[in-house]
C-alpha cells in the first residue's frame, strides 16, 4: 500500500509541476501549485498515519494552513493583475510594476 501511495504522490507532484510549467494562464498554473502541495501533504500524511505520529499530522496541518494562506495571496495577485488591465497570462507579464 505504501508503494502505491508513494507512486501516486510522485505522479501528482510531477503533474502539478507540468501544469505550472506548461500552462499559460495564471490560474491554471496556480492550480498546478496547489496540486503539488496536495501531493506533498499526501505523502507526509500517509507516513504519519501509518506510524501513528502526531507530530507528522501537525506538520501536515501546518502545511495545509500555509497553503491556504498562499492561495489567498496568490489569487489576490491574479485579481490585481486582472484589475490593472493586463491579461492574466504568464507570457504577458514581463514587468512587475503595478
Amino acid at each position: 500500500m505504501s508503494a502505491v501511495v508513494w507512486a501516486v504522490s510522485g505522479m501528482l507532484f510531477l503533474l502539478g509541476l507540468a501544469a505550472v510549467v506548461l500552462r499559460r494562464q495564471l490560474l491554471a498554473m496556480f492550480l498546478g501549485l496547489e496540486l503539488m502541495v496536495v501531493a506533498g501533504a499526501l505523502a507526509l500524511g500517509h507516513e504519519a498515519g501509518r506510524a501513528g505520529l502526531a507530530e507528522g499530522l501537525v506538520a501536515v496541518l501546518l502545511v495545509l494552513a500555509v497553503a491556504a494562506a498562499e492561495a489567498v495571496v496568490g489569487l489576490t495577485l491574479v485579481l490585481r493583475v486582472h484589475w490593472s488591465g493586463r491579461p492574466t497570462e504568464a507570457d504577458a507579464l514581463r514587468e512587475l510594476r503595478g
Binding site: 509541476l17 499559460r24 504568464a90 507570457d91 514581463r94
Partner: protein, 620 residues
Amino acid sequence: MIDIPLAVYLLFAAPLAALAVGFFVTRRYQPEATYIPILLSCAVVCACSAYLAAFVYSGRGLDGTLFRWMVAGDWDVPFGVRIDGIGVSVLVMVSLVGALIHLYAVGYMKGDPGFARFFLVFHLFYLSMIGLLVSNNYVQFYLFWELVGVCSYFLIGFWMHKPAARRAALQAFLTLRVADFGLMLAVLMLMGLYRNTRFAALYAIVPGIPAGILAWLGVLFVWAAAGKSALFPLYFWLPDAMEGPTPVSALMHAATMVTAGIFLLVRSWPLIRAVPGLPESIAVLGACTALFAALLAATQTDLKRILAYSTVSHLGLMAFGLGLGQVTAGIFHLVTHGFFKAVLFLCAGILAHAAGKSTVTVSEVGGLRRKMPMTFLCFLAAALSLAGFPLTAGFYSKDAILAAAFAHGGWAVPAGLAIAAGSAFYISRMLFLIFFGSRPEQKPLEHPHEAPPVMAVPVMFLSTGAVCVGWLGRDLARMLGSGWPKSVPGPVLEGPTLAVSSAGLAAAALGAAAAYWLTMRRPSWDWQWRRQRPGLEALFFEDLGWRRVPAACVTAAVWFADKVGRVLDRDCWDAAIEGSAGVCRRLSEAGGRLATGRLSDSLWWVLTGAAALLAWAGWR
C-alpha cells in the same frame, strides 16, 4: 690526459689574433696594411700544419677536447680536435695553398676599395676551413661548415655593386642551404639518438645502428656533400660563383670549400660503408657528374667558367673514386687537384689582370705563349697535371682512381676512361686557344704583361707543387692509415700497374689529340659551330636544360610561400582572428535571446536546474 701540442692551439689562435688585429686596428687606421698580420698568421698556420703532419707521420694521432662547448643534462658537445691522417693530409694542402693565394691576392686586389674587407673575410674563411678539417665531432664540423658557407656568400658577392655578383652569391647561399639542411637533419638525428656526435664514438657504435637510420644518415650526408661539393643535382651554383674575385675562385671553389663535401663523406665513411648500395650510388653520381661537367667545360667560352666546370668534373671524379671504395685515391686526388686547379685559376686571374677586367673569354686571348712566358709555363704544368701526363701529380692520383675503376670492373672502366679523355680534351683546348696560334676571331690583349712578382711567385710555387706532390703518394697512404679504427680495412694505395697506366695515357692522349685537331688544325672551329648552331650553344649554356630545374623549384617555392602567406595567413588565420569579434557578438546575441523575460521560460530553467541538482545528488 691527452697532451695537446701547442701547434693545435696556434692553428686557431694565430688566425683569430690576425683577424682581431686586422679588424680593430688596421682596418680603421691603415686599410692597405691589413694583409700584414694576415700573412703572418698564414705562415704560422703552415708551420703548425707541417708539424702536425710530421706528428701523424710518425705514427701518433690525437682526438681530444679543447673545452666543453655546450652542456645540457646528458648532452655534451665538446670543442675538440682530431688530428689523424685524413685531416692532416688535407690540412697541409689547404694551409699551403691558402697561404700562397693570400700572397697572390695582395697583388691582385691592390687598389680595390674593399681591400681590407676582402682580406678579413678571406682569412676568416681560411680559419673556418682549418677548423672544419680538425673538428672531432659533427656539431663542431657543422659550425665550421656553415661558417665556410657564410664566407663564401660574402666573397662571391664581394663586388656588391654588380647585380650579377649579388645574385650569384644569393644563389650559392640558398642552394647550399638546401644541402646543409640535410647535414643539419643528420646531426640532429645523431644528437637525438645517440647523444654524442664525436667521430671516434660513432665509429665504435656503427655496427649497432639500425639499418634504416644508417640509410637515412648516409643519404643525408651524400645530399649535403652534393651541395657543397657541386655534384650533380646541386652543382649549378659553382659556375655562377665565378663572379667573385679570382683568389676567391682559386681558393674556395677549387681547392678548399668544395672539397669540404668530399671530406664529410670521408669522415663519415665508416657509416656510409655500412649502408648497402650507397658507395656504389656515390660512384655512379660522381661519374655522371664528371662526364656531364666535362662535356660542358668543353663548350664554354669564359675562362673561369671552363675552370669551374672542370672543378665540378674533378669533384665528380673524387666522388667516383670514393664510391668505388678507394678512399685513399679520393683524398689523394683531392690534394693534387687543389694544387693544379689553383694554378689554373691564378693564371686565369693573371690574364684577366693583364686585360684590366675581372675575367676574360677565349675571344680576347690568343697566342700569348711568347708574350707571357711565365704564365704559359705554369699553366702548362698545371694542365699536364690535370690531363694526367706521366710523372705529374695528377697522373698518380688519376691513375689511382683508374686502378680502382679497373678493380671494380663493369661500367666503371669505360666511365673512368671517358672522364680521363674528357679532362684531357677540355684542358688542351683551353691551352691551345689561349697560348697558341692566332685566330681571326680572337682579339689579342692590348697590353699583355706578366704579373708582378707578388702574384707570380705564388703561382710558380704552386705549379711546382702541382707537379711534385704526386711523388708523395706512398707517404700519404701511410698517413691515412691512422684515420679510422682498426675494424675498417686500412686504405691501400695500389701502385700504378702497367695496364692501368697505359689505358689512362691512351685515353688522355686521345683527348689531347682531338683538342689539338679541333683548335690548331681547324683554328676557327670553336667559333664556327657556335655561328652555325646557335641553338646548340644556348643548350650548352643552359647546362643541357638542367638550369631550368632550380628556377622551376624556386617558382614552386614562391608559389607555395604565396599560398601560405596570402591564403593561409591573410585569408584564413587573420579572418579567423578578426572574425572572432563577430563570433563573440553573435554568441552574445544568441545568449541574449535566452533571457526572454517570460515566466514560463524562467520556470523551465528552474525545473532544469532542479532536475540537474537532483540527478547529481542522486548520482552521489
